[in-house]
């Protein structure tokens, strides 16, 4: 399966978007990011920054790593060798914004998920969602999270919610949407200034903004000049589970060969509980 997203026109081969009209004035974009896993220290700033920006509540009593909500989650992976050869790497995983056969879109029974033809961002509409969780079983990246609890904040903390994001209610699925509201804000700013194009500097997701080592490069993959497009084409950039042919728009980058091998290896093999 070819992985030519970002370099050629992807929307053509995107059956989820192709039936939509192409008539909008603004230039078509394909937003994506390249995460340099060699720079990731696994500090978790992206996870916290994301949660605060997107009004994700802190853990409900009894929530754990399998029922919590972390639209971007940093996984630790290691080379499987014992001490002292052991070595590890951190993979921050948000919605991978699949461009092709987007697994979660076709399965949703009531069109609560779709690929935005303008930006290539996979949108999730919680108020349309009925919480059947079919999309979660469809997503190979475990990037979708279910609201098992009513969202609750410690007393007074709801004052700190971000007005640009509506909190989700219990019983619906949510996920990363590249902080779409920030793109909206950028558009609004541009419109107010009488411009049709947004200033790329105005649109950067919370995770990329908060990464202390600037491991996350974000931008428009269709813009040949953008740093992200260049980096995505580097020979040491790769995507997770490429063999599934979902063509994610989140790339990873590493100079270390074992890391790239690890990502290629597809499904992990081994015994119960390892990996």
């Amino acid at each position: 399966m070819e992985n030519n997203i970002g370099t050629t026109e992807p929307a053509v081969e995107n059956e989820n978007a192709s039936h939509k009209s192409e008539s909008s004035g603004a230039r078509k974009a394909r937003y994506g990011m390249v995460i340099d896993v060699d720079s990731c220290t696994g500090c978790g700033a992206c996870m916290v920054g994301c949660a605060i920006e997107n009004n994700v509540p802190p853990a409900a009593r009894g929530a754990d790593e399998r029922t919590g909500i972390t639209p971007i989650r940093v996984y630790k992976a290691d080379n499987g060798r014992p001490f002292p050869e052991s070595n590890s790497v951190y993979f921050p995983i948000s919605c991978q914004q699949c461009e092709h056969h987007t697994p979660c879109v076709s399965v949703c029974p009531q069109n609560a998920v779709e690929v935005d033809p303008q930006t290539g961002i996979v949108g999730q509409i919680p108020v349309r969602c009925l919480g059947c969780r079919y999309c979660m079983t469809a997503c190979p990246y475990h990037a979708r999270y279910f609201n098992w609890w009513d969202p609750t904040w410690p007393a007074g903390m709801e004052k700190t919610l971000n007005p640009d994001v509506s909190p989700r209610m219990r019983g619906v699925v949510e996920k990363c949407n590249f902080c779409f509201h920030r793109l909206q804000a950028a558009r609004e700013k541009a419109a107010a200034a009488g411009k049709t194009e947004i200033d790329p500097g105005d649109y950067i997701p919370a995770c990329a903004e908060s990464c202390p080592t600037s491991a996350i490069t974000f931008g428009d993959l269709l813009d040949e000049e953008s740093a992200v497009a260049k980096l995505a084409k580097s020979k040491n950039s790769f995507r997770l589970l490429e063999s599934l042919g979902t063509q994610p728009k989140v790339y990873y980058h590493s100079e270390r060969e074992w890391v790239r091998k690890l990502a290629e290896s597809g499904i992990a093999e081994g015994e119960f509980g390892n990996g």
Binding site: K20, S21, S23, S24, G25, N111, A112, E114, V115, D116, P117, Q118, I121, G123, I125, P126, V127, R128, D164, V165, S166, P167, N177, F180, H181, Q184, A185, R187, E188, K189, A190, A191, A192, A193, G194, T196
Partner: protein, 214 residues
């Protein structure tokens, strides 16, 4: 088996002479009519509550010739192009520190709100659900829509009609999409999801949910 049917019919017709059909029909119709009329006439008024505005504000008094204000004079944007909606009391205070006219409302404004610096909690007819994103800047400045396109005569209205708020969902009647039996009202159109999507389809912009839903 067939035989049984016949006997059965015989017994019944013998048991109760032809009074049966009309009588039955009457009862059936009675039920039908009662419930229908309740459902179409009474019920809609039951699920909406009328909410009066705290102050009878007259747009025309401000936008009319004698004052001649523009919409933007009160409903403006901040530096980053964010629409600020209904102005805070400090805006009214610019003129209404003391009653300007003789009307009771005028006095109420000056005395109950401006002087103590209390905000007026208006009931916004077009208050959208929390999950709706509507950028005024994009619609007004980029697309060049007139305020009236969505807000109709609001700018020339002389009084504020009570808002119709659903007891169940808490949403204003004005923003209902074209939904199941939205009867018997035809509220001022222009702020329903379908109105938005119609216009968007016509002008061919913003084709996806995330454009308007956050």
């Amino acid at each position: 088996m067939g035989g049984k049917i016949v006997t059965a019919q015989l017994t019944t017709s013998a048991g109760r002479p032809e009074s049966v059909p009309p009588r039955g029909k009457i009862f059936f119709l009675a039920g039908l009519v009662v419930v229908l009329s309740f459902g179409w006439i009474v019920f809609p008024f039951l699920i909406y509550k009328k909410v009066e505005q705290p102050i009878q504000f007259s747009h025309i008094a401000h936008t009319g010739d004698n004052v001649g204000m523009k919409c933007e004079d009160c409903h403006n944007y901040d530096s980053s192009g964010r629409f600020l909606g209904i102005p805070k009391i400090r805006k009214c205070a610019e003129c209404h520190t003391k009653p300007m006219g003789v009307s009771a409302e005028d006095r109420k404004l000056a005395e109950d709100y401006v002087r103590p610096g209390r905000e007026i909690n208006w009931v916004v007819y077009s208050r959208q659900p929390e999950n709706v994103y509507f950028p005024h800047a994009v619609h007004v400045k980029e697309a060049g829509l007139k305020c009236q396109t969505c807000h109709f005569g609001q700018s020339t209205s002389s009084n504020l009609r009570p808002a119709m708020i659903s007891r169940l969902s808490g949403y204003s009647l004005d923003i209902f999409g074209q939904n199941l039996f939205n009867a018997p009202y035809t509220p001022s159109r222009g702020m329903r999801m379908d109105d938005c999507s119609d216009c968007h389809k016509k002008s061919g912009v913003a084709e996806s949910c995330v454009d308007c839903h956050k």
